[in-house]
């Protein structure tokens, strides 16, 4: 048979890792990306990548990493793939090390590791505080090597409009748009990987990059691919508020000893450094003595939300808490956190080495995504997914520094499975008529959008949707509000048809592109909202005060949404908990005390088990 040909959509960590693996196997790859792949959203990942290398003699192991991840995800993830990921993690970090990622080093020249949320171990390898950028660059370089050898063809400033599905329901390629020339092209492949990242732009302002709309995943969903656990949206506890976006302030700030607090006295107007220790409320350390500021993100976010929104004790009565690094030595801060401190300095104009930062939670990550099997294949045969756009590794809440890992691991698994899929298939070439028909369908839709001349502005409609989603479908969820949100989403879908596209140009027409993507965001917004509405329990990032407990009897289940013209049709499938029996998830046990986790952590010296900087050098 001819040399297999693959399409990879998305040039972040997952897409690039898969591309390198496929190229190593001698295949030819078309790599489609909105942006030059070196600018992909993985560049924003800050704090690090997890792998139980046990460099600090703490007795850490992949098995404990596995347990922390499953427990941190409130038991919603199928366990076998999570186990595979955690056991592959040390090897992945070594691989990145060999590729030249400038990870921070110990004095001996070994890889250094730091603390992150939801674990008591130093398990996170890091390159300053721009780890995602550095790993992305290393993979970008390896891909460039295969590009130079002629195996990889990049389509940058291109977009995947949707998969091409044949009459047997199998994926035969994609239809893609050249976003500069606005021309549509059908591209055939033996297998396609979607590695298109998250969908946080649905929430308007988030920590995500501008392209993270979920659009490609949404069209796959609208063409029959199942979407799972959409309701699980991670809201990161610490971000810098802004008018255009909410900028992440990495968990590594707390990993290096940063402390979260508010003034004990309501409306205390003193400058933060003038407030004596006794008059500061370190609410996370108080309630969670063992994990302190490093409780998992869902918990930290709920606590901050409660302090600011319910108790109205935020700094200056606002939605803000202090994230304080001022007690740490400047040289340590510069070497280990330089990148994020520069972001704060540049965007807020205050030096966080001198003054505590003001932060508030922000939409950050989607645990949910395309349903995939253990080979990363979606419910459309031949269409694979890896990275944030699929649902597999993080259950109901992702632990910090596990996302880079899941991207790279998922990319590796997908590449192997795609090669196997292609070699095991004896199929005639994708019919030309099918490619033509699909290409025509998308061209006609684009022409139709170009002619839309109603009163609605697409960017304004998006902003409205984002504010509504952030208000009602994030930290605290209420069934009445969820229902109202879904009703309004449906109204917005009607209003979409009354959009007037403000640009009729035939070149780099961002208004036409955005208008099409807005529809896809609305479709996914419904999946998220309806998923949340139906899940009457609290688990991980999904919290409903009406149903405050986890309900394993009814909801230890994966949500599976399938598109229909009337909206998402939900079903539930059992979770594979064959390796670690579900147990209650509690992080409040006292420091040094036996916790609910049976993994021998209590043997740790108490210094290591403090989430506070006390005793840390």
């Amino acid at each position: 048979m001819a040399k297999p040909r693959f399409i990879v959509v998305g040039g972040g960590l997952a897409g690039l890792m898969a591309t390198v693996r496929l190229a190593e196997a001698g295949a030819e790859i078309d790599l489609i990306s909105f942006v030059p792949v070196k600018r992909s959203h993985s560049v924003c990942a800050q704090g690090g990548i997890n792998g139980a290398v046990n460099i600090k003699g703490e007795g850490d192991s992949p098995q404990i990493h596995f347990d922390d991840t499953v427990y941190g995800g409130d038991f919603l993830a199928n366990q076998p793939p999570v186990k595979g990921m955690c056991h592959a993690a040390p090897g992945i970090i070594y691989l990145l090390d060999r590729m030249g990622v400038p990870f921070n080093r110990t004095s001996e020249g070994l890889l250094d590791f730091r603390r992150f949320g939801g674990t008591l171990y130093n398990r996170t390898a890091f390159a300053g505080a721009t780890t995602g950028q550095q790993i992305l660059y290393a993979l970008d370089e390896q891909v460039r090597r295969h590009e130079a050898a002629g195996l990889v063809t990049k389509y940058e400033f291109w977009e995947c409009l949707g998969p091409i599905v044949d009459d047997r329901g199998e994926c035969r390629g994609v239809v893609a748009l050249d976003q500069t020339r606005m021309t549509v092209q059908a591209m055939a492949a033996d297998a396609v990987l979607l590695a298109t990242g998250g969908c946080g732009v649905i929430f308007g302002k988030s920590t995500l990059s501008t392209t993270c709309t979920g659009t490609a995943v949404s069209t796959a969903y609208q063409q029959g691919a199942a979407y799972s656990n959409g309701e699980f949206i991670q809201v990161h506890p610490t971000a810098i508020p802004g008018s255009d976006k909410l900028r992440l302030m990495s968990e590594s700030a707390r990993g290096e000893g940063g402390r979260v607090w508010v003034p004990r006295k309501e409306g205390d107007s003193r400058a933060p450094r003038g407030i004596p220790e006794a008059e500061r409320w370190y609410f996370l350390e108080e309630k969670y003595p063992r994990y302190g500021n490093l409780v998992p993100r869902d918990i930290a976010t709920r606590e901050i939300f409660d302090v600011c929104v319910s108790q109205k004790k935020g700094v200056g009565g606002e939605r803000a808490v202090y994230l304080d690094l001022t007690h740490l030595p400047r040289t340590t801060l510069d070497k280990k956190l330089g990148g994020i401190l520069e972001i704060y300095e540049k965007f807020v104009g205050v030096d966080p080495r001198d003054e505590p930062m003001k932060v508030f939670p922000a939409v950050h990550y989607s645990m949910g995504g395309l349903w995939v099997d253990f080979d990363q294949m979606s419910s459309i045969p031949g269409l694979f997914a890896a990275g944030e756009c699929e649902y597999q590794y993080h259950g109901a809440n992702r632990l910090g520094a596990n996302s880079l890992l899941s991207c790279i691991y998922g990319g590796q698994v997908a590449a192997a499975a795609m090669a196997k899929f292609a070699l095991g298939k004896e199929r005639p070439a994708a019919p030309a008529a099918l490619l033509e028909a699909e290409s025509r369908r998308w061209t006609e839709l684009q022409d139709k959008i170009l002619r839309m001349d109603g009163p609605e502005n697409p960017f304004t409609l998006w902003w409205e949707m984002g504010e509504m989603m952030t208000e009602n479908v994030t930290v605290v969820r209420d069934n009445k509000k969820l229902q109202a949100t879904d009703d309004r989403l449906r109204q917005m879908m009607e209003r979409w048809w009354r959009i007037g596209v403000p640009d009729q140009g035939r070149r780099a027409n961002q208004s036409v592109i955005f208008t099409r993507q807005l529809w896809n965001m609305l479709e996914l917004a419904r999946v998220i909202t309806v998923g949340a509405l139906r899940r009457n329990e609290s688990r991980g990032a999904h919290y409903k005060p009406e149903f405050p407990e986890r309900d394993d009897a009814n909801f230890l289940k994966t949500t599976r949404a399938v598109w229909s013209p009337e909206g998402p049709v939900l079903s539930y499938e059992p979770v594979d908990t064959s390796l670690i029996p579900p147990r209650k998830r509690v992080y409040t046990s006292p420091a040094g005390a036996g916790g609910s986790q049976e993994t021998g952590k209590d043997a740790l010296p108490s210094r290591q088990s403090q989430g506070t900087p006390a005793g840390r050098s």
């Binding site: 950028q133 130079a148 208004s511």
Partner: protein
């Protein structure tokens, strides 16, 4: 007290061969806002100060936290990322123009693909054997890591090329960014194996000898990368390499 609105002047161009034109917009001020947010406001209401309806401005942006390099443009005469350009520091009129050293695609979007092509030219990667599990990489002293990390934060944004007088229509100078990255790979223990190939690339026409030592690059780099140090170091390596070749080494 700053005025409640900011005037945003944008140099617009529909296509590479279309004539450029200026359009002025009035944008509502919000605390802490940046140039990106000005452009977002224009998207929602693309009307000029004269009340003329126009198209939203086309521009490139991605991470919005100055780590991807996408949103680079010339703002009040200075090349920089528009996400970290805070309106409060820019006066009551903000002038936005596309970078001048790259072909215009539309409005503020330019085609920087030559910078990525140059990374192929300098063989910008560590030649590992493969991505299967071969254990850890070489040990690296922390001091070396700190140098490598700084060099490795290059976003390929193009600021250094924009301000370099030797990057122009009459020259094919590769520019500071690629030279500095060649230094990064050449100092890596594994990258050293192919150091000679990178030096050869920098000896070709358009290579390091085209640097006129204006030193604008190091001042313009948003990431504080020591570009002139890199050019100096690579200049010495190239000279040494040329000598060795001359002596048949």
């Amino acid at each position: 007290m700053p005025s409640p609105a900011v005037r945003v002047r944008v140099r617009r161009q529909d296509a590479p061969d279309a004539p450029p034109r200026w359009e002025d917009f009035s944008v509502r001020r919000e605390p802490g806002m940046n140039v990106i947010y000005c452009l977002m406001q224009i998207q929602r209401s693309p009307v000029t100060v004269e009340g003329k309806r126009t198209t939203p401005v086309a521009w490139e942006a991605h991470c919005l936290e100055e780590v991807c390099g996408a949103c680079t443009m010339v703002i009040n005469g200075r090349v920089r990322q528009s996400c970290s350009a805070l309106v409060d520091h820019l006066g009551d009129t903000i002038e936005l123009t596309p970078m001048t050293k790259f072909p215009v695609v539309r409005d503020l979007i330019v085609d920087r693909s030559r910078m990525f092509d140059d990374l192929i030219k300098i063989r910008g990667w560590i030649p590992i054997q493969g991505t299967y599990d071969l254990g850890p990489g070489p040990r690296v002293p922390p001091a070396d890591q700190e140098v490598a990390y700084r060099l490795s934060t290059c976003m390929t944004c193009g600021c250094c090329l924009e301000v370099c007088p030797n990057v122009n229509a009459r020259s094919d100078f590769i520019g500071p960014a690629a030279i500095s990255l060649a230094r990064l790979y050449n100092t890596h223990p594994t990258g050293q194996a192919s150091a000679g190939e990178r030096l050869e690339a920098l000896m070709e026409p358009g290579g390091i000898s085209e640097c006129g030592n204006a030193q604008n690059c190091v001042r313009a780099c948003p990431k504080g990368i020591p570009l002139t140090d890199s050019i100096g170091a690579m200049g010495r390596s190239v000279t040494l390499h040329a000598f060795k070749k001359l002596l048949g080494g």
